[in-house]
C-alpha cells in the first residue's frame, strides 16, 4: 500500500503494508540509517524519532498511524535550535562511546530540551530512562543535557 509521509520536511512516498513500523521504512526502504534498531519493542529507545516534536519509538509506530504528522530524524535534528545545542554538548562532553544508541539519546534529549529549558535531574531521568546505553555513558549524558541547557540560557 502507498503512503506519503513528511520526513525532515520532505514528503516521501513508500509502498509497504500499513502495519510496517516506521523504523524499517526509514532504514531499509528509504536508506536513512541514522535511526537505529535495538529491540523492536520500545524497550531501548535506539529508534527514537520525533513526531510533531515529541519523542516516539519508531520500532512500534506503524506507518499508517502517521498521517500528516511531521517526522524528524537524527539526520535533521541539528537544524533545530535544541538539537544543535544538544549535539554540541554531546561533543563538548565527549558522550559517545560505541555511539550506537546515541541517535536515540540525542532525539530524546532534544525533545526534552525543546519543551523544558531547565530540566532537573528528575526531569532528565523521566525523559531519558527509556533510552538504554550499554556503554553506560549516563554520567555524561546527564552532564551534556545540563551543558546544553546552560548554553541556551547564556545565549538567551
Amino acid at each position: 500500500m502507498g503512503f506519503t509521509i513528511n520526513i525532515n520536511g520532505t514528503p516521501r512516498s513508500v509502498d509497504v503494508d500499513g502495519d510496517t513500523p516506521l523504523l524499517w521504512v526509514l532504514r531499509d526502504v528509504l536508506g536513512m540509517t541514522g535511526t537505529k534498531f535495538g529491540c523492536g519493542q520500545a524497550l531501548c529507545g535506539a529508534c527514537t524519532v520525533h513526531l510533531d516534536g515529541s519523542a516516539i519509538r519508531s520500532c512500534i509506530t506503524a506507518i499508517d498511524s502517521i498521517g500528516d504528522s511531521k517526522v524528524t530524524t537524527i539526520e535533521a535534528i541539528g537544524a533545530t535550535s535544541a538539537g544543535e545545542l544538544i549535539q554540541k554538548a554531546w561533543l563538548d562532553r565527549e558522550v559517545a562511546q560505541c555511539g550506537y544508541c546515541q541517535s536515540g539519546q540525542i532525539m530524546s534529549a532534544t525533545a526534552l530540551l525543546a519543551t523544558n529549558p531547565h530540566p532537573t535531574d528528575a526531569d532528565i531521568d523521566d525523559a531519558m530512562s527509556g533510552n538504554i546505553c550499554r556503554c553506560g555513558t549516563y554520567v555524561r549524558i546527564r552532564e551534556a543535557i545540563k551543558v546544553a541547557a546552560q548554553t541556551r540560557v547564556k545565549e538567551g
Partner: protein
C-alpha cells in the same frame, strides 16, 4: 581529522601487490618491529605516496592515512592509537584520516594475543611500542629525505605538524613534498622513541576522532551497510542449542507483501524480504517444527549441579605458593564458602548482523567485528571458497564486549547468502540476539582460608570449575588444563598470602555455547576473591580497608590505589540507615584499581548504587578522558551484572529474550562515578574491562556492610534482602 572511509580494503592487495616483505617478527611475545620493508628500491612510492609500513600512508597532498590494527567499539582506540603514531610521526591529529585494517594476520596481529583481534583490554598495551616505532621510523625517513634535498645533516632538521623544518635557515617542506624521496630510503634499523618528558600528545586529553558522526547519524555500523540491491533477512535458530529443523510450513509467509524467499538450513530458518518489517512478519507466519535433540531438557540447575560436583575433584594447579594444606591444618580459624556466577549475554546495542554477497566464486562481507581475520577464515570455510576469495569490510562497532570476537554470525549469514541471488543483510532480532548469544560462562568456586590468632590469612585455597573460552577460541593458549583468561584474578593476587593453592577444573556445559565477555575471567574471579577477602576481614572483626592494607606491604602501587579510593570515598564516614559502603581491589588487565561502592538497600530489598569512587593506576595514561570514560562505562556494565545479569535455561531454552527480562541499567538507576588516577611512568595497562570486574564485589561488600548479608551468588536477589 576526517573519518570518511568506513569500509576497509578487502585484503591487503595494496601492499602485497607491491611486493612488500613482512618483517613483523614475534620474539618473546612482543613485536620487534611492526613495520614492512620494501623489497625493491622505490617500491614504497607511487600514486598512493609514502607507505613506510602497514599503518601509515602519506599522500603527495600530505594526507596522512592511518590503518587501525585494533577496532573501535566505543573504547576510544581510534583516538588513542592515532595518538601513539602521531606523537612520533609529528603530525596533528586533525591531519589524519583513519581506515579499518583489512584481514591480515601477518601485518595486523595483536602481539599479545597472537591473532588479529581486539580484546582483553590490550590494544594500547600491544600498540604501545610498535606503533610509536612505526611513527618514528616514518618521521626519520621524511627528515632524511628533506635533509638530503637541502644538502644538510639530518640531525640539523626536525619534524613538526606534518613538516620537516631546518631551524637555522627557516627552510621547511611538507611531508607531501617528500613522499617520493622518502619512499626510496631504507627503513631505519634503529629508532629512539621519545622520553615521557618529550610527549606532546600522550597524556593530554584528546577529543575522540570518531565523535562527529556519532551525534548526527552519519556513522556507518555494520548494520547500516547497504550494498546495491540488498535484501533483508531475519532468522529463527533452533530454540534448543543443537536442535534441528524438522519441518517448515512457509505457505502463509510466502504470501506476505515484501517477502521474497524462505531459506531453510539444518538448524535455522531465515526469511528474506524487502525490509526487516516484512522479514519479521514472515518469520512470525512460519510454522517450524524442531527436532530439539539432546539438550531439550537442560536447565541451569543441571549445569550448576555438575559444577558443584566438579569442584570436589582435583584440577590442574593454576598457582601454588608455600604449603596451603599444612597452613590450613594449623590455622586458628577456618572459613569456607561456595560462590556462583551466572551465564551472561552481551546485549550489545547493535544487534548481531552481517551482510553477505556470494557471487561467482567470491564472497563479500560487511560487518563490525573484533576479529576480522577469523571472520574471513571461517566465512571462507562456510562458503567453500579459498580465503583470498572472501572480502571483508569492517565497520565501527555498536558494542563488542567480546561478542564480536566470534564469527558465528558471519558463518550463519554466509550459509543463508549461499542460497540467495544478490546481497543479503541478515539481522538478528533482539530476541534472537539474546537467545542465541554465546555466553559468559557459569562458574562455581569452593574457596577456603585459614586465619591465625590475629585474623591474618595464613592459608588460601580456591578451586573453581566452569568453561574455558580460550580452550575453544585459541587452543595454543590452553596448556596443561589452564589458560591465562580463566584464571586471571584468581591467581597473582595483590595480597601477600604466604600459602596459596588455586586449581581450575575445566567443565564445558552441554547445550549452551560460552564466549568472552567484558572482563571474562576477572568478572568471575575478582568477584569471588574480593568478596572472600571481605569475609575474612569480617571474620577477623577488622575494617575491610585496614585488613586489605595490612596485606599490601610488598605492593606500593596497590596500596596507593586502595588508600586513594578510601580517602576520596570518605571511607568510615557515617551513612544513612540502610546504606553501606564496600571496597574491592584488583590487579587485572595490567592495571591496579580500587573501587568503593555506596549503596542503599530499599525496604523491598532492591539495591540502588548511588556512588562509585575509582582510584586507578593504569601506568602511563595515553588519553586521560578515555580512561575516565572507560571506568564510567565499565562500572555501569558491572552494576548491570550485579543487579540484573543472569541468563537461565529451562527445557534447553534461554528464558530471557529482550530488555524487559534481560535488564540493562538505565540513567535513573546510574550511580555517580568518580575517577581518580595515580600518576605512573610504568607502561600502559588495560582500561576497557577493569571497571566491570571490581565493581561487582564492591557492591556485594557494600550490601554486606549495610545488611550483614553475604552475597555469594550473582546477580543480587532482592528477596534475600527484604527488610
Amino acid at each position: 581529522m576526517i573519518f570518511d572511509r568506513t569500509t576497509s580494503h578487502s585484503s591487503d592487495t595494496r601492499l602485497s601487490r607491491r611486493g612488500f616483505l613482512v618483517s613483523a617478527a614475534m620474539t618473546g611475545g612482543s613485536l620487534v618491529i611492526g613495520l614492512t620493508l620494501p623489497v625493491e628500491e622505490g617500491s614504497a612510492a607511487g600514486a598512493e605516496g609514502f607507505v613506510p609500513n602497514a599503518f601509515i600512508r602519506i599522500g603527495h597532498d600530505s594526507e596522512v592515512v592511518l590503518t587501525m590494527p585494533y577496532v573501535e567499539m566505543g573504547q576510544g582506540t581510534y583516538t588513542s592509537i592515532p595518538m601513539l603514531i602521531a606523537e612520533e610521526l609529528e603530525v596533528d591529529l586533525k591531519q589524519v584520516r583513519l581506515e579499518h585494517a583489512p584481514p591480515n594476520e601477518k601485518l595486523y596481529v595483536n602481539p599479545l594475543l597472537g591473532v588479529q583481534a581486539t580484546g582483553n583490554s590490550n590494544a594500547i598495551r600491544g600498540a604501545w611500542k610498535p606503533l610509536r616505532e612505526a611513527g618514528a621510523a616514518a618521521r626519520l625517513m621524511l627528515i632524511e629525505a628533506a635533509a638530503t634535498r637541502w644538502g644538510l645533516e639530518a640531525k640539523s632538521c626536525h619534524a613538526e605538524a606534518g613538516e620537516v623544518i631546518h631551524g637555522p635557515s627557516g627552510r621547511r617542506l611538507s611531508y607531501g613534498a617528500l613522499v617520493a624521496d622518502a619512499a626510496r630510503l631504507q627503513l631505519p634499523t634503529n629508532v629512539v622513541l621519545k622520553s615521557p618528558a618529550e610527549f606532546k600528545l600522550i597524556g593530554t586529553p584528546a577529543k575522540r576522532l570518531d565523535a562527529a558522526g556519532k551525534v548526527n547519524g552519519s556513522v556507518v555500523y555494520g548494520i547500516d551497510a547497504r550494498p546495491t540491491g540488498v535484501k533483508i533477512a531475519t532468522l529463527a535458530q533452533s530454540p534448543v542449542f543443537g536442535g534441528r529443523v524438522k519441518s517448515v510450513d512457509d505457505s502463509a509467509a510466502k504470501l506476505l507483501n515484501g517477502v521474497r524467499q524462505i531459506v531453510r538450513l539444518d538448524d535455522a530458518v531465515a526469511v528474506v524480504a524487502d525490509h526487516m518489517g516484512a522479514a519479521k512478519k514472515g518469520l512470525e507466519a512460519l510454522r517450524i517444527e524442531w527436532d530439539e535433540g539432546a539438550n531439550a531438557a537442560l536447565a541451569t540447575e543441571d549445569v550448576a549441579r555438575e559444577l558443584e560436583q566438579a569442584i570436589l575433584r582435583a584440577g590442574p594447579v593454576a598457582q601454588n605458593i608455600g604449603d596451603a594444606g599444612q597452613a590450613m591444618a594449623n590455622a586458628v580459624t577456618r572459613i569456607a564458602a561456595n560462590y556462583h556466577v551466572p551465564f551472561l549475554a552481551h546485549a550489545a546495542m547493535e544487534p548481531m548482523n552481517c551482510t553477505v554477497h556470494v557471487r561467482g566464486g567470491e564472497c563479500e562481507i560487511w560487518l563490525g567485528t573484533q576479529a576480522i581475520a577469523r571472520v574471513q577464515a571461517l566465512a571462507a570455510k562456510a562458503a567453500g571458497l579459498p580465503i583470498e576469495k572472501v572480502i571483508v569490510h569492517n565497520h565501527l562497532i555498536g558494542g563488542g564486549f567480546g561478542r564480536r570476537l566470534e564469527a558465528d554470525g558471519a558463518v550463519r549469514a554466509v550459509q543463508i547468502a549461499r542460497q540467495i541471488d544478490g546481497p543479503v543483510k541478515v539481522v538478528w532480532t533482539r530476541e534472537e540476539d539474546i537467545q542465541h548469544d554465546m555466553y559468559r560462562p557459569y562458574w562455581v568456586d569452593r574457596i577456603e582460608a585459614g586465619l591465625d590468632e590475629a585474623g591474618r590469612p595464613v592459608a588460601w585455597t580456591n578451586r573453581f570449575a566452569g568453561s574455558s573460552v580460550i580452550a575453544r577460541y585459541l587452543p595454543p593458549a590452553f596448556n596443561n588444563g589452564l589458560d591465562p583468561d580463566t584464571t586471571e584474578g584468581a591467581i597473582d593476587l595483590v595480597y601477600a598470602l604466604p600459602n596459596l593453592h588455586v586449581e581450575y577444573v575445566r567443565v564445558e556445559p552441554p547445550g549452551i555455547p560460552t564466549a568472552f565477555w567484558r572482563s571474562v575471567g576477572p568478572s568471575h574471579n575478582v568477584f569471588v576473591t574480593e568478596s572472600f577477602i571481605d569475609e575474612l576481614a569480617a571474620a577477623a572483626k577488622q575494617d575491610p580497608v585496614a585488613y586489605r592494607r595490612a596485606l599490601l606491604h610488598h605492593n606500593p602501587r596497590a596500596k596507593a590505589v586502595l588508600d586513594l579510593a578510601a580517602e576520596k570515598a570518605g571511607w568510615g564516614a557515617t551513612l544513612p540507615k540502610g546504606w553501606g559502603r564496600g571496597i574491592a581491589l584488583q590487579n587485572v588487565f595490567g592495571s591496579l584499581l580500587a573501587q568503593v561502592a555506596e549503596v542503599e538497600i530499599t525496604r523491598d530489598g532492591s539495591v540502588r548504587v548511588h556512588r562509585v569512587v575509582c582510584a586507578m593506576d593504569c601506568g602511563t595514561v595515553v588519553n586521560p578522558d578515555t580512561v575516565q570514560a572507560q571506568l564510567q562505562s565499565g562500572v555501569m556494565f558491572g552494576v548491570t551484572a550485579a543487579l540484573y545479569g543472569e541468563i537461565t535455561l529451562k527445557n534447553g531454552r534461554v528464558q530471557q529474550a529482550n530488555f524487559d527480562n534481560y535488564q540493562v541499567l538505565r540513567i535513573n538507576e546510574a550511580p555517580a562515578v568518580e575517577v581518580h588516577l595515580v600518576k605512573s611512568a610504568e607502561p600502559p595497562g588495560g582500561m576497557g574491562e577493569a571497571g566491570t570486574s571490581g565493581i561487582v564485589p564492591a557492591i556485594a561488600n557494600a550490601v554486606f556492610a549495610a545488611t550483614g548479608k553475604r552475597l555469594r551468588k550473582m546477580p543480587i536477589d532482592p528477596h534475600s534482602l527484604k527488610a
